[in-house]
Symmetry: C2
Subunit: 357 residues, 2 copies
């Protein structure tokens, strides 16, 4: 068994504006440690997947940034999508490339913009999953919930299929608060972190079963790998692939066919989904404030003050507020409005202010 | 009668940090209009006191800034205090210089860091006061209150002494909220704006009566004006003058002697005492927000967003908040904590951060 890391870096979210910009999305920000999330993602899995088995899939606009952030990446292993087509085509692309080099390739698909507090426990779960995947089962990691979270999708556990291995009964949509409380007290429910482990040949078979048009496109591209028309075929075929997520397009239907299993995980996972989530992954002061850069907080509670570039950021008497000073823009909003960062991004777009996006 | 404007520019307050800094105090900021408060102060009185009768008193650190901000000031009319000694010595200094040139000099003493919405009404009141001052009476303008303000001192009106002229019964300290309500509903009470009109010879006599040590020092300096030892005498004598305010040292005791009168004024005066006060002097949007620079406010109310230098300042869901982005520092605090800006300044001092003061 040889494990290949497949890091999905095509995201272009706006929830960390103004820290994140179109040219530098969230995965390239050092949100949890002093290294960017994508650098941590690769480092975390390096002991299982050395550089010759590490792949990154990203968009054209970020290929140079990926190469400079991840200097250990080998040439040809940064797969650049000619157009964004969601996760099923991205993972399919990684599968055909990995399989071209390694018929035994087992893929560990990793979002590039999450944080994991306990990498050792993470690697243990991945290794268990990789072993379980050798019979062709598609494996997902089910994260043990630490709170009644309404912002995540859940996995419902089915019958036991081995040591630390369970069937996945269902993918469950983000719940309301009351339902989330119920899930939190029921061990059958775990968070879906979007971390998948499967053999490359198995995921391609699953794609063939569920998304034949995608499979056909992938086979066209696979046939050109290493040939003179490889780049032209990718540029031609990839943008025409159906844009669909691996969860919705493959995992959910495969779950119904009994081909999907989960390995439980409890390793301090966070999707670092908004500024509000930073207090889960960073050290706080005695009054619950998160201070970065040259920040002065006087009589503040549960407040996030993120400064940079030597600019002084002073707060007095603030409660549950987020202040982010980033280059040529500054954001202030209450923590319970953290999801509304996108409203600012939309307003800037509407105002034609692409200089600040 | 010849009216001389005496603009007091020695202030070094911290309530507008980080807009104001030690090198550029409040009077040099364009807080109310697109010109600085001191420029507006001089312009407002220019029709009554042309350049040959305009004086500015300031500290050493700001003399160059005064000259560059006020290019119409004549040489020798920017009087530089060798040390800060409060308002009585500053006004005494202006009196001896004005008197040296003009035995009929009537002084209109003006703080340099206030705003007046209706300059025409202001000039009418000053002209009335100047006429009333010719018999040696010391005149102050009593501002008609527009709200139950606890942040100002008050004047209590006594008997009528002529058209638009009343005795001043008492200087009244800043009241508590309940007392301020009472003052607001009683026409006998007006705000003390620190605007005084008196003949130069009359204020020097009043200083002699109440502050003989100050008077002696002033006479020493007066004797040297135009002589080779003028600068040396100022440098030697001024720092040894008693540091005392004109209100406390002269006006209050003169009031008790019946030498003080007030002219009522109602001309949209504001001392622009804090960031919170800016909403009194600037245009607001429909939800009570004050936006300056490249500011985006989404679902904000009664919030002040002051940006500058092309940096974008975005607020979402804010209520009664102040955000000030100024050069290499940024301040965020609730409006009802506006007076606590000094706490930040003190914290910076304590941290040895003179680079940001």
């Amino acid at each position: 068994m040889s494990l290949h890391a497949v890091i999905l870096a095509g995201g272009s979210g706006t929830r960390f504006w103004p820290l994140s910009r179109a040219k530098r999305p969230k995965q390239f920000l050092a949100l949890a440690t002093d290294r960017s999330l994508i650098v941590e993602t690769l480092a975390r899995v390096a002991a299982l997947a050395p550089p010759e088995r590490a792949w990154v899939i990203c968009g054209k606009d970020h290929a140079d940034l990926v190469r400079s952030e991840l200097p250990t990446m080998l040439a040809g292993r940064v797969l650049v999508e000619p157009a964004a087509r969601n996760t099923a085509p991205a993972i399919g692309l990684a599968a055909i490339y990995a399989l071209h080099e390694d018929q035994q390739a087992t893929l560990c698909v990793l979002p590039s913009d999450h944080h994991i507090a306990n990498p050792e426990a993470f690697r243990t779960a991945v290794a268990r999953a990789a072993a379980a995947a050798q019979d062709g089962t598609l494996i997902t990691l089910g994260i043990k919930p630490t709170r009644a979270e309404t912002g995540y999708g859940y996995l419902r556990r089915g019958s036991e299929r081995g040591a630390d291995l369970y069937a996945v009964d269902a993918f469950v949509e983000k719940p309301d608060a009351k339902t989330a409380e119920r899930y939190f007290s029921d061990p059958a429910y775990s968070w879906n972190a979007g971390i998948f482990i499967f053999r490359a040949d198995a995921i391609l078979k699953a794609i063939e079963r569920n998304l034949p048009v995608l499979h056909h496109g992938l086979m066209t591209m696979a046939a050109s790998i290493g040939k003179p028309d490889e780049a032209a075929t990718l540029a031609e075929a990839f943008p025409r692939l159906p844009a669909i997520s691996i969860d919705y397009g493959v995992m959910e239907p495969e779950g119904k066919l009994g081909h999907l299993a989960q390995v439980p995980g409890d390793f301090g996972w966070s999707d670092v989904g908004s500024f509000d989530a930073l207090s889960d992954v960073k050290a706080l002061d005695a009054r619950g404030n998160l201070l970065a850069g040259d920040a002065f907080a006087i009589d503040c509670d549960n407040t996030i003050l993120l400064g940079e570039n030597g600019r002084t950021l002073a707060g007095v008497g603030l409660r549950d507020l987020i202040v982010v000073d980033a280059g040529d823009a500054l954001l202030v909003l209450p923590r319970d409005r953290a999801q509304d960062v996108r409203a600012i991004v939309e307003a800037l777009k509407a105002a034609g202010r692409h200089d600040k996006l």
